[in-house]
């Protein structure tokens, strides 16, 4: 009985310490959502006044009329749409367009759909602060930039987005594990199998060591 109590207490302490260590290690792998690159700050500040931001380097990529139509459609869309027009870059401190769009959305703190328009690159979007139906805007870019084509495409996508079901708040669903049930069941199952294996091997090792010790 004494062995059982000591073993159970030691197991509980090890489980708590191991869990804390695992939480700490995995927390260091979480992306830093407070970090915002310069481009994202600039775009977010501009999107506070308008739903469309055009980088100075692409000034003239759309006509004033096209921008006005996009602006009107984006502002009236539900969920709201924000459009960033700039040359895509891998030298701006982020890896992908979805990363920088998320940075913009978090800094702006306005839930909605954030679009990136870059000449020569595919139209891209990301949901920030909303959890809604899957919505993909990916379109293979044309070799030649055409503001008319891009405006039509953008307006179509904004119209497609308008009225789709969504709720405010971030989705916690993981592409690897699924929702909460998937996360819990995966963790428990892997823990049970792994723990059972380790426990069995450990116990067998203890018995072998005990026999060897007794044989001396």
């Amino acid at each position: 009985m004494r062995k059982m109590i000591i073993g159970t207490v030691a197991t509980l302490v090890c489980a708590v310490l191991g869990g804390a260590a695992a939480w700490g290690v995995m927390s260091s792998n979480l992306p830093d959502e407070t970090a915002t690159t310069e481009r994202a700050r600039t775009a977010a500040d501009a999107l506070g006044e308008s739903n469309v931001y055009v980088d100075p380097g692409l000034d003239g990529a759309f006509t004033d009329d096209e921008l006005a139509r996009i602006e009107a459609a984006a502002a009236s869309s539900d969920p709201e749409v924000f459009v960033v027009v700039w040359p895509e870059s891998r030298q701006a401190g982020y890896r992908s367009s979805s990363e920088v769009l998320r940075q913009i959305g978090l800094r702006l703190a306005r839930p909605g759909v954030y679009f990136q328009v870059s000449p020569g690159s595919a139209l891209d979007s990301v949901d920030v602060g909303i959890d809604g139906e899957r919505f993909s805007v990916y379109e293979t870019p044309d070799d030649e930039w055409s503001s008319r084509r891009e405006t039509t495409l953008l307006l179509d996508k904004i119209e497609e987005n308008d009225g789709r079901n969504y709720t405010l708040g971030e989705s916690t669903e993981s592409s690897d594990w699924g929702g909460t049930a998937g996360v819990v069941s995966a963790g428990l199952l892997l823990g049970l199998f792994g723990g059972g294996l380790v426990g069995g091997v450990g116990l067998a090792g203890w018995f072998l060591a005990r026999r060897r010790r007794a044989a001396r």
Partner: protein, 429 residues
């Protein structure tokens, strides 16, 4: 003299001479620039405010007149001000004018071949001799040098860049344009010398030195954290409880050799000599108390013969003979008992070890077809044979010796042990 070095991002710089095409295009742009850039044009004063976006070559030239470092947000690795500061410090240490442009490509150069090289020629036309490092967002980098010392060589910068790339962590580390520019400027600061590894490592450790790795989506990273924590907690609990339960329920093991496995031999115990002499004395007294009829009966004669055989082997000094004397004494004792109780069976010792006492069971010996009589303990679990220690060969089971005891199994295998012992000792004598 003119020195031109070009480097496609991700490859070692190659020394090139300005091509004829470059010169022609350069002249055309030089003429345009000459018209646009009026002598004595006021330079943009340096201030904390970022300069306006330079979308054309002319605007770039204007900005370079005021500040030899031009970094646009799309090339600034997330912090243009920091990038500008790093490059400005490096440029300030150079003994020759150094200009660095990390920017989006002006629209007017978009359809030209090798735009970075061509715009460097234009910059030199407008700004004079010096080192020009140009890297556009959509193209490759170019470093051109005019009116600089002969020993100036940018290869050390690219060698250091490749070495830093190989040492970097991550799956596919790729140096940033900013890192490349900093090393090129450093090469200009110390012409002809290799870049100190401490300087390169210091730059390589900065967050802007390499293009960032792909980040896992926050939802996936959070789910991974929960799964990992659950795995560890559940795994430790399950493993701990299995081990705890196993240890708590395990029966205690007796310490010592006998608990682990049966011994390989059983020796003749110390003090046997005294016990056998005592027992033999007792049997003699019982025999002497017998009447004449009893002494001449078959059992009485067998008892007398057994005592005589025991007397012959008890004092030879041989361990196995001593055991034989013990068995013969017991045989004699039993035969005297049989005078009054003829139904009792004759004495037959345990074949495995006669010192275990009388046989009451049989066991099929390993590697044998004979069911040998053994004691009840050896019947349950066969023990080790009575053995004697040989000087060179170690312990030897008595059944492997060349003795009458091995042949007879101390009487376990034959019914005439006494006769065989007497015959054996008569022959020896």
């Amino acid at each position: 003299m003119t020195v031109a070095l070009t480097a496609r991002t991700g490859s070692v710089a190659r020394r090139l001479l300005p091509s004829a095409t470059t010169l022609v295009v350069g002249c055309v742009f030089a003429a345009v620039l000459a018209a646009l850039v009026a002598p004595g044009a006021a330079a943009t004063p340096a201030s904390d405010e970022p300069p306006p976006h330079a979308a054309t070559v002319d605007e770039m030239v204007e900005q370079l007149r005021a500040d030899p470092v031009l970094v646009q947000p799309s090339m600034g690795m997330g912090d243009t001000r920091l990038a500008h500061e790093v490059l400005s410090q490096a440029v300030a240490d150079a003994g020759v004018p150094v200009y660095v442009v990390l920017a989006e490509m002006p629209e007017e150069l978009a359809r030209m071949e090798r735009p970075a090289e061509q715009v460097a020629v234009l910059f030199r036309e407008a700004l004079g001799d010096g080192i020009y490092h140009v890297d556009f967002l959509e193209g490759s980098s170019y470093t051109g040098a005019w009116g600089v010392p002969d020993e100036l060589d940018f290869r050390p910068a690219y060698i250091a860049l490749r070495a830093a790339e190989q040492r970097a962590s991550g799956e596919y580390p790729r140096p940033s344009a900013l890192f490349e520019a900093v090393l090129v400027v450093q090469a200009a600061v110390t012409p002809g010398a290799e870049l100190p590894s401490s300087v390169v490592d210091e730059y390589a450790s900065q967050p802007w030195a390499f293009l960032p790795e792909r980040l896992k989506p926050i939802a996936d990273a959070r789910a991974d954290r929960w799964v990992a924590t659950l795995i560890v907690v559940t795994g430790v609990l399950v493993a701990g409880l299995i081990i705890t339960a196993g240890i708590a329920r395990a029966k205690p093991l007796a310490r010592g050799r006998s608990a682990a496995r049966p011994p390989a031999y059983e020796a003749v115990p110390d003090g046997l000599d005294r016990r056998v002499h005592k027992r033999l004395g007792g049997v003699r007294r019982r025999r002497d108390a017998l009447s004449g009829d009893e002494l001449t009966s078959p059992a009485g004669e067998r008892a007398t013969s057994a005592i005589e055989a025991a007397e012959r082997v008890i004092d030879t000094g041989d361990e196995l003979d001593l055991v034989g004397a013990d068995v013969l004494t017991r045989i004699a004792d039993r035969e005297i008992d049989r005078l009054h109780d003829p139904e009792r069976r004759r004495y037959q010792p345990c074949f495995i070890n006669p010192l275990h006492g009388e046989a009451s069971d049989t066991v099929r010996l390993d590697g044998s077809s004979i069911d040998a009589p053994v004691c009840s303990a050896c019947g349950r679990r066969q023990g080790a044979f009575l053995s004697t220690r040989k000087r060179m060969r170690g312990w030897e089971p008595y059944v492997d010796t060349s003795t009458v005891w091995a042949r007879t199994g101390y009487g376990a295998l034959v019914g005439d042990l006494t006769e065989q012992v007497l015959a054996d000792r008569s022959v020896r004598r």
